[in-house]
Symmetry: C2
Subunit: 308 residues, 2 copies
């Protein structure tokens, strides 16, 4: 087998050590921009070079959401561009599983105790083992969540735009049948994009179909849930609870009822924390450099016409 | 294929509805004791029948630890006896993954906040993605934990008595090499039986080999960890933290330093909560009734000579 030459990668605007390691791990060598076949960019569009050498056939951008890059007119059709879509899904899935379990297993009250209140807490500890979980918007995060839920032997209902079966899900429904899941699942993970169509996807009528032990985890955008309707359901106990990493409004203002409801778990949009970005992105870059070297399709290719 | 007759099962001392459902789900029919081929027993040994009909070829006991049954002289060699070993592993594994994540991701401080402290919390949110986790005592609980850790793409070091490779572990070490794991893994799950040999398995020298970001989760027995040494390590920050569902002493007395150390997460021995027992046991019973009907080996067979 002929040895392929190591791909020549420029890392800009500065030599981030995590990304440099990822490039080397993927089999690449670091070179100045004018010798590069590919560019891995570690910051926003403001400092991006005005023109790239024609030799650059691929550019890796550092974010999953690439609206600012499209707005800046940086993305052209002369080469392939990849986003960080998927790079951070594992971290968000981990957060999702943790907070779903924390809700169902009444973890917060246990962690705030300063005495051994076993008899009081034991009856409040539930389990997700064997329950049915709906993943509403089953993209990268949802797919990364499936193995955790499978470990708890959950039945998984996935909802996607197309309804094309998601591997590992017991059933996949297209978005226009999302209304069926509210009465069928025990718990709900909201991971759909925020669009006009998904605003208040979970409102009063959806909440009314859930059970008093149902938990909702929102790791998408706050506007997907009608906050006032949710607060009413939490107060009335018609659902088990909600774990929200995103809120509407966000940041959640001081004194908002969600801060003090015992069945609301609020985390301040940290499912994908800044601390985790360099390592997660380095893994993503290592994979793409290896694919580039092997001439295989890259992960996260941007379609500049579609806008994602 | 000839139809096998449904196994005739006696459920005693009373007709627990969860277990009755499990027996039927496994293909059995409920009968009085004097017509039974097998007995499923839902309570302790005190009320167990003094003599069983000779027709009873199998008895299912409701606990994983069967010392009281052996002490009462109930277990004989005239038939097969099965414990509930393994029935509760999934629930404990779920708790283990939850508290490991809660520690590494700094969940407690977030859940006690009443304002949006994103900038403060974000840098403290870690991840177990891609870390190395040692499962010290990798029996039923450890094996149920492996799929959760695999979802986080962890490297798994299993320690078992024999060292026979555990499916899904990247490496399995025999108990006499447990000393190797303390410096090699990022995090530690303690799930070994409490014996004279495992008392203070984690002491000062073991803690000294861990890293400032290492978390320990103990779901076995409190005595496996030297509590005083642990408190010192937690205070000094030489380890990341400890999530303890079991303590020494247990119950943990009011005013004990573990209650207020920010990097100690205490749950009051609820990883396997009483609320979950009937359903978990019913699943175990359903499986064993189906195996009994099919003439297959039963799960959790007791060896009365070995004592487990």
């Amino acid at each position: 087998m002929p040895t392929r030459p190591a791909p020549r990668i420029h890392l800009g605007p500065e030599g981030d050590p995590f990304l440099a390691e990822g490039i080397r791990r993927g089999g690449g060598v670091l070179v100045p921009l004018d010798e590069a076949e590919a560019v891995v960019w570690a910051q926003g569009p403001d400092t991006f070079p005005g023109a790239l050498p024609d030799t650059v056939r691929w550019v890796q951008l550092p974010f999953a959401g690439i609206e600012p890059w499209l707005a800046a007119g940086v993305v052209d059709s002369a080469r392939s561009w990849t986003s960080a879509a998927g790079a951070y899904s594992g971290n968000v899935a981990e957060h999702t599983m943790m907070t779903l379990l924390a809700g169902v297993r009444s973890l917060r009250e246990q962690l705030s105790a300063t005495s051994w209140r076993k008899d009081e807490f034991d009856p409040r500890v539930g389990t997700v083992q064997g329950t049915t979980v709906a993943i509403v918007g089953c993209g990268g995060i949802g797919r990364a969540l499936i193995p955790y839920l499978a470990a708890s032997r959950c039945r998984i209902l996935a909802v996607t735009r197309s309804g094309v079966p998601v591997p590992g899900a017991d059933e996949t429904l297209p978005a226009d049948r999302v209304g069926e899941v509210w009465s069928r699942a025990d718990h709900f993970v909201i991971a759909a994009p925020a669009t006009a169509a998904t605003r208040h996807l979970v409102g009063r009528s959806e909440l009314a179909q859930m059970s008093p032990s149902s938990w909702i985890v929102n790791v998408a955008r706050g506007t997907l849930i009608d906050t006032d309707a949710l607060v009413d359901a939490l107060r009335a106990g018609t659902i088990g609870g909600a774990a929200l990493d995103v809120t509407d409004p966000e940041p959640l203002p001081d004194g908002h009822p969600l801060w003090t409801l015992p069945n609301a778990l609020i985390t301040p949009h940290v499912a994908n924390p800044a601390t985790g970005l360099p390592r997660a992105l380095a893994d993503h870059v290592a994979g793409n450099v290896a694919r580039f070297a092997a001439g295989e399709p890259l992960a996260g290719v941007i379609d500049p016409v579609a806008g994602y």
